[in-house]
Amino acid sequence: MKVIGQKTKRVDGLGLVKGKPVFADDVPKKDFLYLKILRSPFAHAKITSIDYSKALEVEGVDLVLTHEDFKPIYYTTAGQGAPEPSPHDTLVLDSTVRFVGDRVAVVAGETLEAAEKATRLIEVKYEELPAIFDIEKSIGNQTLIHPDKEGFSFVFDPKNNIAANIDEELGDVEKALSESEFVFKNTYSTPYAQHAHIEPHISLSWLDENDRIVIRTATQVPHHVRRIVAEVLDIPIAKIRVIKPRIGGGFGSKQEIIGEELVAAVTLRTGRPARLEYTREEEFTAARSRHPQKVTFSIGLDKNLFINAIDMEILQNSGAYGPHALTVMSVSASKTLALYKSLNVRIKANSVYTNLPPAGAYRGYGAPQGFFALESMMDEIANDLNVNPIEFREKNYFQEGDEVPIAKVLGEGREGFPVILYTSGVRECIVEGKQLIDWNTLRVSEKTGIHRRGVGIATVAQGSGIAGIDMGAAYIKMNEDGSFNLNIGATDLGTGSDTAMAQIAAEILEVPVEKIIVYSSDTDLTPFDTGAYASSTTFITGGAVIKASEDIRNQILDQGMKLLDVEEAVIKDNYVVAANDDKISYQDICTKSFYTDHQKQIQAVSSHMSYDSPPPYNATFADVTVDTETGFVTVNKIVSVTDAGRIINPQMSEGQVEGAIPQSLGMALSEFMIFDEKGRPVNRDFGTYNIYTAIDMPEIVTKFIHTDEPTGPFGAKAVAEIPTNGPAPAVVNAIYNACGVRIRNLPITPEKILRGLGKLK
């Protein structure tokens, strides 16, 4: 292949290195109204009155919006396909506030300073309500966070604070566990974690010349933004245009509609352009995060150490609202239970409301939590039984050709589709990774003294798009110089998907990538796409680009044959070539098609969806040193080997892995949200919420092993999310190898290590 799998520069790289105005906020000054949100100081309270007369007296303040200004339309902020399977439990503004940082009112001013000043002058009377901060105390609590209301939908059991629930079984788990030779049971927990994209949530809106609302926003889901804004503001979809420029990172956080509806509401009321940018503190306290989960696995083994039964229980913290509550748990289960074969599988999961910030979609989408538990557990079992942890895993993997039954049971909030495993490179990933981390030496090296070094492994899976749901479309048209416009609704949020799509088109049309002009995405100009989530763009939208490119190729051939007046020809190097060696160039074909002969626009639009979501696989290895005097853990090296099918763009795929690793290491070692006894977030800035910087990074080694996935474009599977799943459990397993301390609750702190060593009580 000429383009697929070859080093290809990003199609949007030039503008980015030059600092061109390509992001949402980089527009010439308009007559903006600046929005500021007044947020709740209480974790749970009823608003009994709001007096904003003094706020309106502030010079330059034009508008204050409260819950009285919006129709009570319950929706979910989760940008998912319709009908969204997340609880519809949210109002744009509500008369009850449910976490510290919840919205109370919105001020629009001529300057941000005026709007900020006005928010401080709004007099709100609250009646404080009892609050729930402990997920163990949510179900059955007298305090109801979302008392059932008319208009609710997809809320599982509001009378018990349960946002979402899963209860599924294959086979007979109780019986299988009772018949097992060995049964192990442990509970693992993961905390809130922040996306920490550097560009905050930012939305701008204005009226176009026909009084339609234009929303320019940092989103992963422009088409869902259009639909959900139309729904909550009760205006026609036809009145809204959503433009997604370049995005400064999202990682799932920008799959939420948490600003677009407010700027649109202000523009609708005032006719003025409006702008809302989250402060960094708002990102930490009121945007979204990774769902904290407590995961309990009971695993039964037969005497030959084959897994007999897996029983998985999840207790998940939704926070105050339920975006992605059901589907994140569903992914925790469906991805972990697709790695090891067991005839008997059960999943019981509850996502409960608390008066803490709502969680949401975050890279991996439940799989990092699930795999932290499962891969810690597999390590514990191997240690307890004194067997090789890698051989124990290898014995139990699903194999190529196996059907993975859990996928049929756990779909996107409804029944899913059976998965046949066509490709699995997990064993090859292990072989490569063991070498690169020097497993055989480090695993058994001397574990004495103050500084103890160890290695750990985690093997993980993910999916490629959401089977039976995700759909992406691509539109291609040809230009006179033999270049092509490729317009896609898919949303490159920094991942490089625009480049991958250009490579796919270039490969099929047999032109250099420079001949493909990519535009994404704009609801007026680009066809539908569910958006950038669930590792879907290469797999789903890539399928659409293949179909559209093949259609264009056939049209070029057809026009070429007509122009050459021959019955047979082939495409070769930008030419249609007949058997008699007569040939006509792409340029001539398009130019003649435009102006003189057989006139038409060579163009095609195609869409693609898939009932398959082939799992990519990854083996992550960690090499750590534990200081047994201070409890401090240093990660020396991470090796991440991935089977993502055929790699479309090696350099960008490496980049995905290299960027995912510090996100997982952060969740394991340095990042966590602390709340005080009133539910107020304590760490609200980067000074106290510590993400990995350049000087914190361990040595990173990434590698891909090659498989050819029959259901993917050119054999590709997904790569975006899977590398986020392995580092945390690999580090925990390496710590155990180094010093015998088992951490079951993230984050790993020096205190927990010292306790484990018996040096702290």
Binding site: K18, P200, G249, G687
Partner: protein
């Protein structure tokens, strides 16, 4: 009244006491300086001040009197590309690109002081620029590659 150089051109003006260089630059539609946080931790707002990388949102206008300010806009004219920018593209060091101008400025700041830095110096130079996409692997490669290629010349 203060005066300073911005990307080679002299600027004179009076500014409100609270105005930061970041506010001023964005106001002038110099959009390469980005908002990352109010306290400057992310470094997305970087500029060069007398050749040293600084957070523009932490610089009040009255403090830059007589200084030389450079932003990424000064690195290339028209369709030109600075070789350091080219190295970032070549090495796949750009993902979302939001922090990229700041990384390039931070590297340039280092290289003016130390034209032949080792990996540790490069890492250190990027420590004030947060990036959530790349894990810094390819940005460091890009800077090392550029530094080495200059050495060769």
């Amino acid at each position: 009244m203060i005066g300073f150089y911005l990307n080679g051109k002299p600027v004179f003006g009076e500014f409100n006491p609270g105005t930061t260089l970041f506010d001023y630059l964005r106001d002038q539609e110099i959009f390469s300086v980005k908002f990352g946080s109010e306290k400057g931790e992310t470094g997305a707002d970087s500029v060069l001040l007398d050749g040293k990388v600084m957070n523009s949102s932490l610089l009040l206008m009255h403090t830059i009197d007589g200084k030389v300010i450079e932003t990424i806009e000064s690195f290339s004219q028209g369709v030109d590309v600075h070789p350091l920018q080219e190295a970032f593209i070549e090495e796949g060091a750009v993902q979302c690109g939001y922090c990229t101008p700041s990384m390039i400025l931070a590297a340039e700041s280092l290289l003016r002081e130390n034209p032949t830095p080792n990996d540790d110096y490069v890492r250190e130079s990027l420590s004030g620029v947060y990036c959530r996409c790349t894990g810094f692997v390819k940005p460091i490669q890009a800077i090392m590659k550029y530094a080495t290629s200059r050495e060769d010349r």
